[in-house]
């Protein structure tokens, strides 16, 4: 019953967004049902559609988890974007610098680089907040700019192949490549960049769940998020929790680099992130800051992203911008939850338990 209630609201938000989007498509002059059929049909077609959809979902699961861990500690991490850039660069740097090492050594090193890179970039605003009380929202936003500029600088002046007109690093060593799932799944072509990082994302979701709800550390982190004064009273160091939460959050965001660098392009490509860090906020919000919810909403956002491409190609008027409209509308509806509690409350669906 509790689970149903948790699911109901995001579901209403999504359905409402599709209705609004449908009306818009109608006004533009296309058939909404046909458009949605195209969108979902292509995104969920086997193997190419599903392969790409899961590939798109991978970074969103990581960033969604990143935002939710911070949120559970009462922090808003707007900096997943910067954290994943630093991490992707760090992992690429290891992959380039130690290119000749054996995969048994290089892969773990590259993983650690991504996790530590993101973690350090996430820890900075955590430490600033714990030490000086400066607000993590401001600091994470600022660190996004810093990260992007810093990484661009290194690529442009130090790690680009000489003469390459594209802003990208030289390739990483073979030993750092993460296998594509096509290798293991019959029927899934290997040109689809869906790789083991997707499995890693699912494992991380499970680990995040166990960490938050089954360990003493998670208890301390969530206590701090829900009531820092009471946490302090219970002998929990609020400052420590803030730093821990931001570090874990940054590490999770950083694992996007594994998917991107080690599993997809095999090099660092400047500006690769399609706002994964920011979409992660929406993913966490729609997923109700729960790992299962994060996976489901990451998949939904990935479907929209993948399905937007044929919509662009095969409808008369609608462009793939409809995806942005849908995403935006979903976020609006989710954010308007308080408003919805009013009219829907009388059906007894969303009523807060009152004793």
């Amino acid at each position: 019953m509790k689970l149903l209630r948790e699911l109901l609201f995001p579901l209403i938000a999504v359905v409402a967004a599709f209705i609004v989007g449908g009306i818009l498509i109608l006004i533009i002059g296309d058939n909404p049902i046909e458009t949605y059929r195209l969108l979902f049909g292509s995104a969920l077609s086997w193997p190419v559609g599903i392969g790409y959809t899961l590939f798109y979902a991978t970074p969103l699961i990581f960033t969604g988890l990143a935002v939710m861990v911070a949120f559970r500690c009462g922090l808003l991490n707007i900096g997943a974007e910067g954290q994943l850039y630093i991490a992707a660069f760090a992992t690429a740097w290891v992959g380039i610098t130690f290119a000749n090492l054996s995969p048994w050594l290089l892969i773990p090193m590259c993983f650690v680089a991504a996790i530590v890179g993101g973690g350090v970039w996430g820890a900075i605003p955590g430490i600033l907040k714990a030490r000086f009380g400066s607000h993590e929202v401001i600091n994470t936003i600022m660190l996004n700019f810093l990260a992007v500029a810093l990484v661009s600088y290194f690529i442009q002046y130090h790690y680009k192949a000489p003469g390459d007109p594209i802003m990208q690093s030289v390739p990483i060593g073979w030993g750092a490549h993460v296998a594509r799932l096509g290798k293991f799944v019959p029927g899934l072509p290997q040109f689809i960049p869906l790789n083991l990082a997707f499995i890693l994302a699912l494992v991380c979701a499970g680990l995040v769940y166990i960490f938050l709800w089954r360990t003493k550390w998670g208890y301390e982190l969530r206590s701090t998020g829900t009531n820092p004064s009471a946490a302090e009273y219970g002998g929990i160091s609020v400052r420590k929790q803030i730093i821990i939460a931001m570090t874990i959050s940054g590490s999770l965001a950083g694992m996007v680099g594994i998917n991107e660098v080690l599993g997809h392009r095999y090099r660092y490509y400047d500006g690769f992130s399609d706002n994964y860090g920011f979409t992660g906020i929406a993913v966490a919000l729609l997923g109700r800051n729960h790992p299962v919810g994060v996976i489901i909403s990451a998949l939904l956002f990935a479907i929209l992203q993948r399905g937007g491409i044929p919509v662009d190609a095969f409808t008369t008027h609608v462009t793939k911008d409809i995806v942005q409209v849908l995403q935006g509308t979903i976020i609006l509806f989710v954010a308007a939850e308080a408003f919805f509690r009013g009219p829907f409350a009388q059906w007894g669906l969303l009523k807060r338990s009152k004793v």
Binding site: K216, Y219, R222, T226, S229, Y233, G235, S353
Partner: protein, 501 residues
């Protein structure tokens, strides 16, 4: 003046008001008493148009009226002052009072005229409120008078006051009652919701008693007494005085030496020294805001050592610089004064709340010293729930859904469960039902008799004097004196509380 007839109000399956009848005579002060959750606030919110009754009717001055919104209530001359004030802190008294009924035309706000009117009202009822003062600079008592003015400015003839004395010091309560009496003289009608029996007897003309959503009696104040009212409220005989055997104190458990605390730029506690011995309850009486909060928080390890000077010794060990976790491990438990801010994780369920402070220790943590053992957690939660009669007895409910008294019992149970050597208790029965108060008092005495040292801070003079074995009086952060609570009079203690040495 107002009459509720056969009013019934349900929230889901819960019947908050069951066929209740309340009649308030004009020009009187009418008290509505009952335990938390008895339905008194619900009834008054129906009268003020916050809730709509499922059945029954409301008569105002003899005529049946539809009160669908607070707006309707105001139009009928009904005003309400809530327990939590609804004032804008950064605005002036006059601006707050006119808010929602701004004088002047569509463009210009005529505050000058309003100020004159407010001043007139303030003088009429001797409220001593300056219309130009900014709310955040006013004391809680003054803010409450602004709330009164807000209602009077809207021509309220009936004032409904929800737990008005909960936030006031004893002195402010006296002043406040004087104001209420003046209002009655001027022909206003007052309804006061409370559960403090002494105040009911002091101020009201008539009392309506509620229990479990029903009206169980209506009596003239002059013809009743505290014991009778308590019996009606709880439904059984209630012991209002604590009966306790003589204390048998042992050696000093806690020793505070020349402790001073600086907080928010001021010295809150100034050179305080005392000892709490095993097997005794040391009470600290004082008007709220005289350093008690800071003192207890400092002893619990919740104030940064950099703000402290002096020494705190626990079993001869200097713990001045130790944090809250180590102090808990040494055997210091703490029942905080503000259970919502400090004591509970309101969004968490009872089981999760039951382990706060021991969440990282065995047996709560098993498997490699990291994973929480959900069986052990439930076990502990159920022990506390049963041992301290927490209702509803369901460890999966969020703490938020419990009544104040049950939340308090949960906290007390949790802190008792660690078998502390020293218990710091602040306002243990604030906002708690009479029945639960009796229970909490008995538990505190039994803990003392088991050899625990108890340091008790309470704003309820009656409570500290009857529970304590020794009593210190604190005034402006200093110990103003020590008295023997068995022989000291309220006047004697009150004098020390207000004047210091």
């Amino acid at each position: 003046m107002i009459e509720l007839r056969n009013i019934t109000k349900r929230f889901g399956d819960v019947i908050a008001n069951d066929q209740i009848n309340i009649k308030v005579e004009p020009g009187t002060i009418h008290a509505i008493v009952g335990e938390n959750g008895a339905g008194k606030s619900t009834a008054m919110r129906i009268a003020y148009g916050f809730y709509k009754a499922d059945e029954g009717e409301i008569l105002v001055e003899g005529q049946a009226r539809e009160i669908a919104t607070p707006h309707d209530a105001i139009a009928l001359g009904i005003g309400m002052v809530h327990q939590h004030f609804m004032l804008v802190d950064t605005m002036t008294v006059a601006e707050n009072i006119v808010l929602g009924a701004e004088p002047g035309n569509a463009v210009a706000l005529d505050l000058a005229a309003a100020s004159v009117e407010i001043r007139k009202l303030s003088e009429e009822f001797k409220l001593a409120v300056n219309p130009n003062a900014v709310i955040e600079h006013l004391s809680v008592g003054q803010q409450q008078r602004v709330e009164l003015l807000k209602a009077l400015y809207r021509h309220a003839r009936l004032l409904i006051l929800d737990e008005p004395t909960a936030v006031l010091t004893p002195q402010e309560v006296e002043e406040f009652f004087a104001i209420l009496r003046r209002m009655r003289e001027q022909g206003k009608t007052v309804v006061i919701i409370t559960h403090k029996l002494a105040e009911v007897l002091a101020i009201s003309d008539e009392v309506t008693v509620m229990r479990d959503g029903k009206v169980v009696g209506r009596v003239q104040t002059s013809e009743t007494n505290a014991a009778e009212l308590a019996r009606m409220m709880v439904g059984r005989e209630v012991l209002l005085r604590v009966e306790k055997p003589e204390a048998n104190p042992g050696s000093a458990e806690l020793s505070v030496q020349n402790l001073s605390i600086v907080s928010k730029g001021a010295k809150r506690v100034d050179d305080v020294s005392f000892e709490v011995r095993k097997g005794e309850i040391l009470g600290i009486a004082g008007v709220e805001g005289n350093g008690q909060t800071e003192l207890i928080e400092a002893l619990a390890g919740l104030i940064s050592p950099s703000q402290l000077s002096g020494k705190i010794l626990f079993e001869d060990r200097d713990i001045t610089k130790e944090g809250a976790r180590l102090r808990r491990e040494l055997g210091i438990a703490h029942i905080p004064e503000d259970r919502h801010r400090r004591g509970l994780l309101l969004e968490f369920d009872l089981a999760e709340n039951a382990i706060l402070g021991v969440h990282y220790r065995k047996p709560i943590v098993s498997y490699a010293g990291v994973l929480l053992d959900s069986m052990a957690i439930r076990q502990r939660a159920n022990d506390i729930i049963q041992g301290f009669d927490v209702r509803p007895a369901n460890p999966d409910l969020p703490a938020r859904s419990l009544s104040g008294g049950n939340q308090q019992k949960l906290i007390i149970g949790r802190e008792f469960k660690v078998e502390p050597k020293l218990l710091l208790v602040s306002q243990p029965t604030r906002g708690v039902d009479i029945g639960a108060i009796e229970f909490i008092h008995r538990k505190l005495v039994s803990l003392r008799d088991a050899g625990c040292a108890v340091l008790l801070v309470s704003a309820e003079l009656e409570e500290v004097t009857s529970l304590s074995d020794r009593l210190l009086i604190i005034h402006e952060g200093r110990i103003a004196g020590e008295v023997d609570p068995k022989v000291a009079t309220i006047e004697e203690i009150g004098l020390l509380m207000t004047r210091g040495h």
